[in-house]
């Protein structure tokens, strides 16, 4: 939307080259069709093919902002708690924060999630490949969907693999006697990984929904929205995991 709304009178620009020269040009930002081609100043629903996409992207962005704060709040514990401790009877300061060496499988999980981000991005981009989209829009077939589907399926499979890997990691820790209630670092580890796991499960459901949407939805825009928003959500969860994992590996004290 333009910062200020001014009605343009048709201005013509003529380079006075003396002879011939360019034809009169419409200075408005869009084509010279003579109509008001500024999509932003049209009524809702007629602001071009990206109107709905922008609306849903904004929503995804605000949801992810809330999620960001949520994870930030959980992570404060990781920074606040190690500084605490207690003074023993012999007046020694006892720190009871035990570093936790993460189960090695988390490295594998991280790689899997990274890979899934790549596949999700490829799937997302297929839905915006202009020639394919145009073909879909004209109803000549669904080349974009056909190309995106395998990549999306791969993302879902990799996402499932990641969750299974996390499940294994929790079991491995539990079999070592490190449960959620064992020590402060465990509280944090389980809380943050389970919260992230739940978010990822929701993302997985969103991807499955997007898969269904690609084949079920009649409107091209809706198919794009479903894949685009779930892919961005997936990317954000990947990013959050990257940060959490780095924290768990590097910042252990």
């Amino acid at each position: 939307m333009p910062a200020t709304f001014t009605r343009h009178t048709v201005e013509t620009e003529r380079k006075d080259t003396g002879y011939g020269g360019k034809p009169p040009l419409d200075r408005r930002p869009t084509g010279g069709g003579g109509g008001d081609d500024n999509w932003d100043s049209r009524p809702h629903g007629r602001r071009g093919p990206r109107e709905m996409l922008i609306r849903f992207r904004l929503t995804t962005l605000s949801i992810l902002t809330a999620d960001f704060v949520l994870f930030a709040v959980l992570i404060t514990f990781f920074y606040v708690r190690p500084t605490a401790g207690h003074v023993s009877a012999s007046e020694n300061f006892i720190s009871d924060w035990h570093p936790l060496s993460v189960p090695p499988i988390l490295w594998l999980n991280t790689a899997v999630l990274l890979l899934s981000a790549v596949t999700a991005e490829i799937a997302r981009r297929q839905l915006f490949h202009e020639i394919d989209v145009m073909e879909e829009w004209l109803g000549l077939g669904r080349p974009a969907v056909r190309r995106a589907a395998p990549w999306l399926a791969a993302t879902i499979a990799l996402g499932g693999l990641f969750l299974a890997g996390q499940w294994t990691a929790w079991h491995q820790l539990a079999s070592e006697g490190l449960r959620a209630s064992s020590n402060p670092n465990c509280y944090f580890f389980y809380l943050v990984t389970i919260t992230h796991g739940v978010h990822l499960l929701l993302g997985l459901l969103a991807l499955v929904f997007a898969m269904g949407a690609m084949f079920g939805f009649k409107r091209v825009e809706l198919r794009q929205v479903a894949v685009d928003c779930s892919a961005w959500y997936w990317h954000a969860m990947g990013l959050f995991w990257g940060f959490i994992f780095t924290l768990l590996v590097v910042a252990q004290r």
């Binding site: 910062a3 949801i63 709040v73 514990f77 708690r81 605490a84 207690h86 509280y187």
Partner: protein, 580 residues
């Protein structure tokens, strides 16, 4: 949809309740807030009466125990802050006028919006249910500080009651977040043609900022409340310190102690922005109403927008002033004291702008304007003690005294409620096509104003004299506070008068719906789009074009004026307003 709803369209009740229409949802939110405010007020009256006549039995109940008094404190605070002061300005009012004010026919996500209401309703039910479980409602206050909130044995109500309270808060967070997502996207993506950010009414700016604050603050509370729930049920110990002993019994020792201070920080990281979530819409409304009822533009519109945004931004960095005496690092206290005083700057800027608009203005003292003036009065009276309490040294004395109670009841509760009243009196014609009775409105305002000052102003003196909060009674074997009993009695009588005055308001609301004078299309001759008769306005001017000579035939130019000129006759496509 027209801005002025035809009055007598009968729709089946069910379709009005299970709806995704924002106007209907506004009414549902208002009814929810009404239920909450009635309950919250009754609780506060019961507490006031118990404080001054501790032996007086309540009918059908008996004499409340000190724990039941504390349960009253907790539930009063929770109901009022979440279900009244958040719900009305940040859920009911935006549903009522936000889409109309930006020229949108509907919200960006109507079903998400409806879901927000039903989650909020479930949250209300969960909170009320806490009264009816064994041992009753929680007694830890609306801030639920650990370890009190961690241990079921800590007192009656800290078991099932506390769990229900936490569930209620988690649901309320979800509802607020859902509503805020919808408002944010609606404001950013569904504005009408020509409604640039610089032409949005200040109410819409306030909702933009408060929705952004909601996204940040409520997700922090969501996480913190979930951690507390995990402590209570999943064996973790985020906030639970070691060595808790209740009645000689050592409580569950976590494997390692957690940090109660962390809860304090996380809670108030939510709690302080929450104050601005509930007061910013009122500030935006005050600007709009003063412009309207003095027929003057808002001077420095951009300046006001900047101040609003700055208040929201700074509001995220001041939470520490709630916990100066909790054992926080004193240096942190100094820092939080400074940021708190900094926030007084944009707040004062807004107040001074309002005063400048009022200065030598020809003020039309309609009921909404009276309540706006009341809002400003309380905002100043309560706000002035803000920088006082922001001094860590002074707060060490004043903390947990009635001085604090006076401060936040004036600046948040009374200012908030008066702006809610201003909004209801102002927007009432949108819902019913009628105006509320002015005589009753005046009566309601003056009694409320005097009684509210009578209730909360003397609390400053009681607080300075050292009267503590949260005490069920002041008399007893120790006579320390006996000299304060007369003041306390005065406060109680004043509170009863304040509550009684609200009966006038309720009577006015229900009577005017049938018998009020017909409002016409634009009863306040306002410029903002909720009064537009056009369904698809095209906006060519700012929100506050008032004053002589701004339009050819009148002293104001509505934002939809351009569309009228283009269509020929004004209000061409508006459906006729049905009147009796």
């Amino acid at each position: 949809m027209s801005a002025v709803i035809p009055v007598r369209v009968r729709r089946p009740l069910l379709s009005r309740v299970f709806t995704s229409s924002h106007r209907d949802l506004a009414i549902l939110w208002l009814l929810l807030a009404l239920a909450a405010v009635i309950l919250g007020t009754l609780l506060s009256l019961a507490m006031r009466i118990h404080r001054v006549w501790p032996m007086l039995p309540f009918p059908f109940y008996g004499v409340p125990t000190p724990e039941q008094y504390l349960a009253g404190v907790t539930m009063h605070g929770t109901l009022m802050i979440f279900f009244v002061l958040t719900v009305v300005p940040q859920a009911a009012f935006p549903n009522l006028v936000l889409p109309a004010q930006i020229g949108a026919s509907r919200m960006a996500f109507p079903r998400l919006n409806a879901a927000a209401f039903w989650i909020g309703f479930a949250s209300f039910l969960a909170l009320i249910a806490a009264f009816f479980v064994p041992q009753g409602a929680p007694i830890g206050g609306w801030t639920a500080y650990p370890p009190f909130s961690e241990i079921a044995a800590a007192g009656p109500g800290q078991g099932a009651g506390m769990d229900l309270w936490l569930v209620s808060i988690l649901l309320f967070c979800a509802a607020s977040l859902a509503a805020a997502f919808n408002f944010l996207v609606t404001i950013l993506a569904r504005r009408a043609q020509g409604m640039t950010l610089g032409r949005m009414p200040l109410t819409v700016w306030s909702w933009l900022v408060s929705s952004a604050l909601t996204v940040i603050a409520f997700s922090a509370l969501l996480a913190a409340a979930f951690m507390l729930l995990a402590d209570r049920h999943f064996g973790t110990g985020f906030f639970l310190p070691a060595g808790e002993v209740v009645n000689g019994i050592r409580q569950r020792d976590p494997a390692a102690p957690g940090s109660p201070m962390l809860w304090l920080h996380l809670f108030w990281f939510f709690g302080h922005p929450e104050v601005y979530i509930s007061i910013l819409p009122g500030m935006g409304l005050a600007s709009s109403l003063i412009a309207n009822f003095t027929r003057r533009p808002v001077p420095g519109y951009r300046f006001m927008v900047t101040a609003t945004t700055l208040i929201g931004f700074l509001g995220l960095g001041v939470w520490g002033h709630h916990i100066f005496v909790s054992g926080m690092n004193p240096y942190a206290g100094t820092a939080f004291g400074l940021t708190t005083i900094a926030i007084a700057v944009p707040s004062s800027a807004e107040v001074l702008t309002w005063l400048a608009m009022l200065f030598r203005g020809r003020i039309r003292l309609t009921t909404p304007m009276l309540f706006t003036l009341g809002f400003i009065s309380f905002f100043i009276a309560g706000g002035l003690t803000g920088p006082v309490l922001a001094q860590p040294a002074l707060d060490a004395y004043l903390h947990n005294t009635f001085f604090v109670v006076a401060h936040f009841h004036l600046v948040m509760a009374m200012a908030g409620v008066f702006s809610v009243f201003a909004g209801i009196y102002y927007w009432y014609p949108l819902l019913t096509g009628r105006r509320m009775n002015e005589v009753l409105g005046n009566l309601h305002f003056w009694i409320s104003l005097i009684a509210a000052y009578g209730t909360f102003f003397p609390m400053h003196f009681a607080g300075l004299a050292g009267e503590p909060r949260h005490y069920a009674q002041l008399s007893g074997p120790v006579e320390s506070f006996a000299s304060l009993i007369p003041v306390e009695k005065g406060i109680t009588f004043s509170a009863l008068l304040l509550a009684a005055a609200q009966l006038i308001f309720l009577f006015n609301v229900f009577r005017s719906a049938r018998h009020g004078i017909a409002a016409g299309e634009n009863p306040w001759r306002a410029t903002t789009l909720e009064w537009s008769p056009n369904a698809h306005p095209i906006i060519e001017s700012g929100p506050y074009v008032y004053g002589p000579g701004v339009a050819s035939q009148d002293d104001f130019r509505p934002q939809w004026a351009f569309a009228e000129n283009r269509n020929g006759s004004p209000g061409e496509c508006s459906p006729p307003l049905k009147q009796e």
